[in-house]
């Protein structure tokens, strides 16, 4: 019994360590948006409390799992920074493998227009940028199956 307890403890602590979400400021997001890499940046804005966001996450996970050399998926989490443990637990429970960054910038009006001027502020929202030709696509709604692929083709 004691052994089981220890195993469970190790299991959970391991999961916790692997799922730790980095809490970042806007400059980190800016780096992604201005990336000079060859990779197309797929950036999704989401939160654990946002049902349509959670619903569309598998689309990003699927794209990330394809491990295409020319695509980088980043999930920008907008939960409050004091809820980072909740985000960690969520990421662990859903086995999310894409890179998750918690953006700790509560003064939304200081940065939201820099992501896209058309952004009204609702999530989910998705930004696809091709650094090679500067093409970008921004949408402020839940995505359907196949739409990400369409956006990727649009910025090619």
């Amino acid at each position: 019994m004691k052994k089981t307890g220890a195993i469970i403890f190790i299991f959970f602590s391991f999961q916790y360590v692997t799922a730790q979400t980095a809490v970042v400021k806007f400059d980190r997001l800016e780096e992604l948006m201005n990336s000079k890499s060859d990779k197309i940046q797929v950036i999704n804005f989401w939160a654990t409390w946002c049902a349509p966001c959670v619903k569309e996450l598998p689309l990003f996970e699927k794209l990330n799992a394809e491990k295409k050399s020319n695509i980088q998926v980043t999930l920008i989490n907008l939960d409050f920074a004091d809820k980072v443990k909740k985000v960690d637990a969520f990421v662990a429970k859903k086995n999310i493998e894409s890179k998750v960054l918690l953006l700790d910038e509560i003064d939304y009006n200081a940065w939201i227009d820099k992501v896209d001027e058309s952004w009204g502020g609702a999530i989910p929202a998705t930004l696809v940028i091709n650094p090679k030709n500067g093409k970008r696509k921004f949408v402020e709604r839940e995505l359907q199956e196949g739409e990400l692929q369409k956006f990727l083709a649009e910025v090619e």
């Binding site: 946002c50 049902a51 509560i106 003064d107 939304y108 200081a110 999530i123 709604r141």
Partner: protein, 203 residues
């Protein structure tokens, strides 16, 4: 007399045309009349507020974490500004099919539990939210009365810190209403806010 009627009709159709062309209000626009059911079962219309200096309209709901975070501040806005001539109206446009916690019954329960001293209206057809161009909850529209009209004076967030009221150093709505009360122009008339998207009906 006939001519007056004609003019009114013409003006109305122009307003309608205008409303048809612009899908949402911008600062300075005149807001069209609306009438919605309150949690007490009675209808509340914008024109009921003809004797006020303006109205603070907030698209809100029961379930969104941002709405919850702002709930005390929304109640405080009502307490502070209703006596000064700017009463508050909260409107929930979320589809109860998509968000069951935002049903009319749940609205009644929340208003009762929180002792709302302001109307909490249900926008069942979502037409009012669409006319305003409301996208999030909470999404604020400060309206200033100008004769028989209500004009949009501020659109956006309540303040610049959803998580922590004490750390908010830009109280957009307070600043807007204070400015209007002082006869000054609104310092920041438009902001954006991350929030829960309004749960539109599936069409």
């Amino acid at each position: 007399m006939k001519q007056t009627k004609l003019t009114v009709l013409l003006a109305l159709s122009l307003v309608l045309l205008f409303a048809g062309r612009t899908p949402k209000y911008e600062v300075g626009d005149t807001v069209a009349e609306f009438k919605l059911k309150n949690v007490d079962g009675k209808q509340v219309a914008l024109s009921d507020y003809i004797s006020s200096k303006g109205v603070i309209v907030i698209f809100d709901c029961n379930t969104c974490p941002y709405s919850k975070a702002y709930n005390d501040r929304i109640q405080a806005l009502s307490k502070n500004y209703a006596p000064k001539g700017f009463p508050l109206i909260a409107i929930n446009a979320n589809s109860p099919e998509i968000s069951p916690g935002d049903s009319f019954e749940e609205m009644v329960a929340v208003a009762k539990r929180k002792n709302y001293d302001f109307p909490y209206l249900v926008d069942e057809t979502q037409q009012v939210a669409k006319a305003f161009g409301a996208s999030n909850t909470p999404h604020v529209f400060v309206l200033q009365r100008d004769g028989k009209d209500f004009k949009v004076a501020y659109i956006g967030a309540i303040d610049n810190n959803t998580r922590d009221e004490a750390s908010a150093d830009k109280k957009y709505v307070e600043q807007a209403v204070d400015a209007l009360l002082a006869g000054k122009s609104v310092p920041t008339s438009k902001t954006k806010a991350i929030g829960c998207g309004i749960k539109w009906k599936n069409v």
